[in-house]
């Protein structure tokens, strides 16, 4: 009987916690253009760079704190197709792809638990 070909290991499967595209991989480091416009220029002014990085950090921090403070509050979501719904905010997933909400008020009733796709959301408001 023929011997099956030996294999070093099986192909690695997807990571259940992330969408992949490891930023530490050699290909990413070699090919990914930086997302900071200033540092993408040939002569990057270090002061400009720092200012821009600082602004970005501040914006990111504000956004994350905003998500934190939204927990268990009533939030109005303004979405595409003229959809406006209100729900109690639960949490966001790590890539901000989905928002977990409770008591989502929809035109066809109240949904006890729901996931809202963040790409469908134009804006959301809540009282601090």
């Amino acid at each position: 009987m023929a011997t099956p070909v030996s294999v070093l290991r099986l192909p690695r499967g997807p990571d259940p916690n992330s969408r992949g595209f490891d930023p530490k991989s050699p290909r990413f480091i070699a090919l990914c253009r930086t997302s900071i416009p200033t540092s993408a220029e040939a002569e990057a002014d270090p002061e400009q760079l720092q200012k821009e990085q600082h602004a970005r950090s501040m914006l990111r921090e504000t956004f994350l704190r905003c998500l934190l403070s939204m927990a268990n509050r009533k939030v109005q979501f303004n979405m595409y197709e003229k959809v406006k719904v209100e729900a109690t905010f639960g949490a966001s997933d790590i890539d901000v792809l989905n928002f977990q909400v409770s008591d989502l008020h929809t035109p066809i009733g109240v949904q006890k638990e729901a996931l809202i796709r963040s790409q469908d959301v134009i804006s959301f408001t809540y009282d601090v």
């Binding site: 023929a2 011997t3 030996s6 070093l8 690695r12 499967g13 997807p14 969408r19 290909r27 070699a30």
Partner: protein, 329 residues
Amino acid sequence: MAMRQTPLTCSGHTRPVVDLAFSGITPHGYFLISACKDGKPMLRQGDTGDWIGTFLGHKGAVWGATLNTDATKAATAAADFTAKVWDAVSGDEILTLAHKHIVKTVTFTQDSSCLLTGGNDKLLRIYDLANHEAAPQEIAGHTSAIKKALWCNNDKQILSAADDKTIRLWDRSSMTEVKTLSFDTSVSSMEYVPEGEILVITYGKTIAFYNAQSLDLIKKVDAPAPINSASLHPEKDFFVAGGEDFKLYKFDYGTKEELESYKGHFGPVHCVRFSPDGELYASGSEDGTLRLWQTAVGKTYGLWKCVLPEDLVAENSEQLYTSPPEIKA
């Protein structure tokens, strides 16, 4: 001593895999993208099948997926009436191109400057990616849904296959039809081999090879079962095919002889493609998996390791994984 083929199974998709494509050979190896009805196309390292990332964003089944030659961009066609262009290094969505119906096929020009799409609205569309806000050029002519569209003849011409049982050759600059091939039954797949200008077409149980410029028939071969997809080896010595009987067939291109058949998939095979170096071929199936198969069974390549009898008893031999014998369902 004869060696038995050990296919490598790439899991991760939760629904049928309907399309797959390889990139060209890049400094970081070559890559594979798979289109799946679960709406989440995946990028994998081509020689090992290792998952790299999942392109998230489509809201419906993804029917077509492709990579540009240097694997920096990906494009996908989906049932959510959009085609999307992605950065294949970061996984980010670059562009969404709205269509009026399900999009089935997408393909880049060699320089990645333009994208060709086709789908259920029966139109071929050419998008200029540098100027994507502008309306695409549209080519009408097919009388039913377009299944597959390809650039050929150095991106100067377009080949399209549709459910109207025709394959049409179009001139890009004049946007007019140059030639039509009619069949008795729907064409299930189409592959274009630029070196040698060969078009590989499958329909019914037949795998046919045409000259891509003249659309003259070169040869055709019949398989034991209805075939959904076939691919010609870069050196044109073999071709592989898969279809409704779940098996992969390997034929000699010169003699048309069936050389081997491999079981492994648990559902019909929807797509099969040779890697750019010809060392392996990948198949996508209704069973939700992709499988990688060696062209030269027993050769050391990727995750496959050639083990000589002496090595198996050597004291310092590395841990090797031998797949268990197949259990027949």
